[in-house]
């Protein structure tokens, strides 16, 4: 009996020990799994862009008037006779028949990959193709042809994250795909780590710097000379033979030069921190004269005889700025004086015809001011519902590049009336 009791007690104790251990094991498993459930997770989703290449031979053979294409990403505009030349950012140039401004028609498209800038002199069109200068005969715009291509006139485009393009070929487009990867630990708020193929392209709906005349561009025509800038150099080309630009001088111009703007016998070279003023009274020998700190490479500028009108906006590569219009007295270019600042919404390009000043104010629409007294601009008309980028005003006809279309307006001192819209398809 005593032996049975002892045995029963031993069994009971054994069961208790086993159960406790089992319970501890269960508790341990629960705690372990629970710990795993407490692990925070961070992922990063970004777009990988990969270039689509085409051989130079194929690309160059296609630089001519081709069938028209949809307008998707409008940039700079130029007027030539009854035609509007509208840059399609990074793709080429639309040729639009504007003989009836109430009903403009896209007639042809010149395929120029990497194009963001155009200029027209007589029957000759000059365009950039990444770093190359393309010269085209547009005596018949619908049958335009390339007459010359000069390589490495402009600075090579910069890409992010160490991407270097294959320069034996031409990038004609990009493929995009989203990818999600585990990011740095949740505790690490450093924005970037590691190397990945993630290139930036100046495509999508990014507008190029605007304007027919007086805005910052990569090259500028002054009489029989073409001036072009790369990061450090100001180059001068003679256009004695318009179809055959000949480089005749090259001047070291400083650091981070990106844009050029002609004004009378001066060239304004725009950099990140300001504008350098060069005197071109001797066209082949530009000489630095002074600095102009009130505008930078990103800031569209136009000027009349007395004043410069500059728009600054947030969100550009030039760094922080206020969204505003600045008016400067430039009677003495060595010492430009800020006359007045006007707050804006998101100002882009601007245009002026006599005392009428047109501001493309981004999502703020289109604004027409009486600028007869620059210290007291009077808003005469505002068109809302447009996201405007660029404008040309001449002879009471205003052409406006907006996000959703190419608009044309009739304007007088007291009225601004829309007469046509060429739709842009994104």
């Amino acid at each position: 009996m005593a032996g049975n009791g002892f045995l029963n007690a031993a069994v009971s104790l054994f069961k208790l020990i086993v159960m406790k251990k089992f319970s501890i094991v269960i508790l341990g498993c629960l705690l372990f799994s629970f710990q795993a459930c407490l692990k925070d997770k961070l992922t990063r989703t970004y777009t990988i862009l990969e270039p689509i290449y085409q051989s130079r031979t194929v690309v160059e053979s296609n630089i001519k008037s081709n069938p028209p294409k949809e307008i998707q990403s409008p940039g700079k505009i130029f007027i030539y006779g009854n035609y509007i030349f509208l840059n399609e950012v990074d793709k080429g140039i639309h040729i639009i028949d504007n003989s009836n401004p109430s009903s403009p028609v896209a007639k042809a498209f010149i395929d120029i990959p990497g194009n963001v800038d155009i200029a027209v002199k007589g029957n000759t069109l000059y365009a950039d193709m990444y770093g190359d200068l393309v010269t085209m005969d547009i005596s018949n715009p619908l049958a335009s042809r390339m007459v010359k291509l000069q390589r490495d006139v402009f600075p090579e485009r910069n890409y992010t994250n160490g991407f270097m393009p294959d320069r034996s070929q031409i990038i004609v487009g990009w493929t995009k795909r989203d990818t999600t990867v585990p990011a740095n630990s949740v505790n690490n708020r450093i924005l970037r780590g590691g190397v990945f193929f993630d290139a930036m392209a100046a495509s999508s709906s990014a507008p190029a710097t605007p304007g027919l005349a007086g805005s910052m561009a990569r090259f500028a025509l002054v009489n029989d000379y073409l001036y072009a800038v790369d990061h450090h150099t100001l180059k001068c080309f003679s256009l004695t033979n318009a179809f055959d630009p000949q480089q005749i001088s090259s001047v070291y111009a400083g650091w981070d030069i990106e844009t050029i703007f002609p004004f009378k016998d001066k060239l304004f070279l725009g950099s990140m921190g300001g504008v350098f003023i060069y005197n071109i009274s001797n066209p082949v020998n530009p000489v630095i004269e002074s600095n102009f700190i009130h505008a930078r490479a990103c800031d569209p500028v136009i000027a009349d005889n007395n004043y410069a009108f500059v728009t600054l906006r947030t969100g550009t590569t030039c760094g922080p700025a206020n969204d505003e219009l600045q008016i400067l007295d430039i009677a003495n270019l060595r010492y430009p004086k800020l006359v007045k600042t006007y707050a804006m919404n998101s100002p882009h390009g601007l245009a002026k015809d006599h005392d009428l000043l047109f501001i493309c104010d981004g999502a703020g629409g289109l604004k027409m001011y009486d600028a007869s007294d620059v210290t007291h601009l009077v808003l005469k008309k505002r068109i809302t519902g447009l996201e405007t980028y660029d404008a040309i005003a001449w002879n009471n006809n205003l052409i406006v590049v907006a996000k959703d279309g190419l608009y044309q307006f009739d304007y007088t001192a007291a009225s601004l009336t829309r007469k046509s819209k060429l739709t842009i398809n994104h």
Partner: protein, 178 residues
């Protein structure tokens, strides 16, 4: 859709009115901490709704300071396990989290936070005080999801990065109900 919702509410209240137990307003208000892989941080919540028998259903809103400050907005359901003045209760919350980060909690100065899912489930114990009041002690598991979008480059050539935060922690709260 609105008409259906109104009809459902009318049916609910008419049934409830005829039911043996009353529907009464109830509120739970908590303060506590959130413990996880990252630094332990604070939380505050208030849940207001209706009590019917052993069930409580309501809308909650709070402040969640874990990793990135956020404001959860959620639906909460409680079930008392025993119909006693004091006893255990189960709780489940589901809703969304609105990020309201400080500058230091952002990856970039101008990043935007999108709302993400908020889920919590746990066990609490109510110590009844007086006729309707109670001291609440709660522990549970909580997760919140937030989305941060940053533009790495200027607006003229944007590069958008999206960061998804899946934050998992233990929720410990004490509170007061009435």
């Amino acid at each position: 859709m609105k008409i259906l919702l109104i009809i459902a509410l009318l049916i609910f209240f008419s049934v409830a009115a005829g039911a043996q137990h009353k529907i009464v307003f109830s509120s739970q208000n908590y303060a506590g901490i959130l413990v996880g892989e990252n630094k332990t941080n604070y939380q505050f919540q208030t849940i207001n709704g209706i009590r019917y028998n052993t069930w409580l259903g309501g809308i909650g809103i709070g402040i969640d300071g874990y990793y990135v400050n956020s404001i959860p907005l959620f639906v909460s359901i409680n079930k008392e396990l025993f119909k006693k003045k004091s006893g255990f209760y189960l709780s489940a919350d589901a809703g969304i989290n609105f990020g309201c980060p400080t500058i230091n909690q952002r990856r970039a100065e101008e990043s935007d936070f999108d709302a993400g899912l908020y889920l919590t489930g746990g066990l609490g114990y109510k110590i009844g005080i007086g006729k309707t009041n109670g001291l609440l002690i709660y522990t549970g598991y909580s997760s919140k999801h937030l989305i941060e979008k940053t533009i790495s480059f200027p607006a003229d050539a944007p590069q958008m990065d999206k960061y998804d935060y899946y934050l998992r922690r233990i929720s410990l709260k004490i509170g007061w109900s009435f």
